[in-house]
Symmetry: C2
C-alpha cells in the first residue's frame, strides 16, 4: 500500500510536523496515514487530530484489507472461561486495528475444519485457536500445515502438540495439579481422586501425569476420564466416592460443581465429608455453594501473550515455535477442609 | 455477481438436474453456485455433493463479499448473559453463510460509536446491537440514522427507543417484575424493594414502571438505581435493608448476588430473613449459594428472532419497524421463602 495523497489542493503533510504535534513517532504517523494496523485507537485519534489542527486534509478513508481480519476459534461459550479469553483477545486485537471474527463450535454445529476453511476463504490475516483440536492428540495435525503453507500465522492456546510448528500458550497443568494435591495433602487427605476430561486431550493427559508423579503409579486407580461438563464431574464422582476418596481434584469448575452435586446426592457434605478443587475460576465461582476452591488460569496473561505472538507474526517477525507456559494460582475458598478423622 | 462458469471443459451444470439430485430447489442450487449467503451449511454441502456425484466441477471458490460480515456489538462478556446471546447469534449467522465480527465494549475501551465506525469502514452487511446505547435514553439516536442512510440494516436487542426506526427484540420487562412481585407477595412479603441499573436505561425504567404499577406509587421509596454489577446490588441492598425490605427484586443475577452478600454482611440469612429474586439466568446460576430464584430471559428465542429479522432485512424484505417482545419465565430455586412472622 502506498502513501495516500492528501486531500486535493491541501499541502502534502510533513511527517515530522505531524509527529511533533501528535507527540508520536514519524513511523506511527506513517502507519496511520497508510491505514496500517498496529496503532492503538487513541493514538490514531491523536494523529488525526494533529492533521486537523495543522490544516491538513485527513487521508481518504482506506478500505481495510481482508488480512486485518483475525479468526478466533473457540469451543462453546457456556463455560465462562471461554468468553473470558474471548473478551481480552477481542479487545487487544481491536486496539491494534485488527477485527476479530468469532467462531464458536457446538456439537452438531460447524466443525473446526469447516470454520477454518471459512476463515481462509475470507482471507483472514491470522487465527487464534482456543482449546481447539490441537489439544486433541487423536486428530490429524495436517490441518495446521495447510495454514502454514497458505502463509496464515496462528497461535494455539491451551494444548500442545509437538507435531505442530507454531507458538503455543498454555497454563502449567502440572503445576496446577501439584498445587491441588499439596493443598489436599496438607489438609490430611490420603485418598485423593482426579476427575478430568477425555484422555486424548493434552490438558487431561498432563494433569494425569502430574497426579501420578505426585502420588505414585497406584494413584492411577483413582483417575476418572469423563467429560469437562457438570455431568462429566457427576459421573466421575460416583466412581471416586465409591472408592472412598475424600478429596477430588477436577479438570474444570463445571466438573467440580458436578462432583459436589454427586456427593450431596449420597448425603455427603462439602467440605465436611468431601473436599473438592476446581480448575479455571471465573467471576461467578466465588458465589457457588460452597464457594469453590479452585486453580485459577492466568487468563489475562495468556490471552495477551497469544495476541502478542500473533501480532509479531503478522508484523513479519516470527516468534519462536515453542510453548509459552503460564503459572496458575490456587484460590482457597470454601469447598476444601481438613479431612474428618 | 454472475453465475460462475464451471471448471473448464466440464459440461455446464443444469440447475434442475442438480436440484433433483440434492433434493433442494433450483433457487437454492443457484445460491450455492453463486456463493450467496442464506443457505445452511448442510444444504450447501448437499449441493456440492450432488455436483460431485453428477461429475460437474465445483464452482471456483468465490471471494466472499464484505457485506457477508455482520457486526455483533455487545457489552463486556463478564456477565454470562452476553456470551449466551453471542453464542446463539454467532452460530445462526454462520449457519446462513454470514461471518460474525465480535465487538465488545469495556469502560475505557472503544466506545460503541468507534466500534460502529470500524464496522462501517469494514463494509459490514448489517449489525446486531446487544444491550447497546439504544437502551440508554440519554444518548443521541442520530448514530442509528447514519446507519440507515448508509443502507446498513441493524437489529437492536434489549432496549427500545421510539426515536429509532428499526426492529427491536426485547424481553417483557413488565411481565418479569410482575412475576417476581407476585411470587414474593404469595410468600407473604409486604415490604418489597427493587434494585436496578441506572434510570436512563430502558430495561431499568420499565422494571420500575411495572413495580409501581403492581405495588402503587409509594413503592417508589423502595426503588434503588445503582449499577447492574455485584457491587451495584450490594450498594442497593444497604439502602433497601435499612428500609426494612424482606424481599428484593433485582435487575440482574449479578446484582442479586451482591444483595445476598450485603444481607449476610449484616448477619441476615437468605432466604430465611431476606428473599432475593434475580434476573437473566445462565448455566452457573443453579449452583450459587443459595441457588438463585430468578426470572429467565428467553435467550434462545430472542437471539433467533434478532438473526431472523436481520436476515430478512439483508434479503431485501424489511421487517416491521417495531418491538418484538418475548416472555420471560420465573425459575424458583432457593433464594426466596415465606416471610418470617
Amino acid at each position: 500500500m502506498t502513501h495516500p495523497a492528501p486531500g486535493s489542493g491541501a499541502p502534502a503533510p510533513r511527517l515530522a510536523h505531524i509527529a511533533t504535534q501528535a507527540k508520536v513517532s514519524e513511523a506511527t504517523v506513517s502507519r496511520v496515514l497508510n491505514g496500517k494496523p498496529g496503532v492503538a485507537a487513541a493514538t490514531r485519534q491523536r494523529v488525526l487530530a494533529a492533521l486537523d489542527v495543522l490544516g491538513y486534509a485527513r487521508p481518504v478513508r482506506l478500505k481495510p484489507r481482508a488480512t486485518d481480519l483475525i479468526g478466533l476459534v473457540t469451543p462453546e461459550l457456556t463455560n465462562p472461561i471461554f468468553p473470558a479469553f474471548a473478551q481480552i483477545i477481542e479487545q487487544q486485537l481491536a486496539g491494534h486495528g485488527y477485527t476479530p471474527i468469532l467462531c464458536t463450535q457446538i456439537p452438531g454445529g460447524a466443525t473446526e475444519d469447516e470454520l477454518v476453511e471459512q476463515l481462509v476463504d475470507r482471507g483472514v490475516g491470522g487465527i487464534i485457536f482456543l482449546s481447539g483440536l490441537h489439544a486433541d492428540l487423536s486428530t490429524d495435525p495436517a490441518r495446521y500445515e495447510a495454514l502454514t503453507s497458505a502463509d496464515i500465522p496462528y497461535v494455539l492456546i491451551n494444548g500442545y502438540n509437538d507435531r505442530i510448528s507454531a507458538p503455543f500458550v498454555s497454563p502449567d497443568d502440572h503445576a496446577a495439579v501439584r498445587m491441588a494435591v499439596t493443598h489436599l495433602a496438607d489438609l490430611g487427605h490420603t485418598r485423593i481422586g482426579l476427575a478430568v476430561g477425555p484422555a486424548r486431550y493434552v490438558p487431561s493427559r498432563r494433569k494425569r501425569e502430574a497426579f501420578l508423579t505426585a502420588l505414585g503409579e497406584p494413584a492411577a486407580q483413582t483417575v476418572q476420564h469423563t467429560l469437562f461438563s457438570v455431568e462429566g464431574g457427576q459421573a466421575a464422582a460416583v466412581a471416586l466416592l465409591d472408592q472412598g476418596c475424600t478429596g477430588i481434584i477436577c479438570g474444570s469448575d463445571m466438573m467440580a460443581l458436578g462432583v459436589i452435586r454427586a456427593a450431596r446426592d449420597r448425603g455427603l457434605r462439602v467440605p465436611q465429608d468431601v473436599s473438592v478443587v476446581g480448575y479455571d475460576d471465573s467471576p461467578l465461582i466465588p458465589f457457588t455453594d460452597p464457594p469453590l476452591t479452585t486453580v485459577r488460569q492466568p487468563v489475562h496473561a495468556m490471552a495477551s501473550a497469544a495476541v502478542g505472538a500473533l501480532l509479531e507474526e503478522l508484523g513479519g517477525s516470527p516468534v519462536q515455535r515453542t510453548e509459552y507456559v503460564f503459572q496458575p494460582e490456587l484460590v482457597v475458598r470454601g469447598s476444601t477442609a481438613q479431612v474428618r478423622t
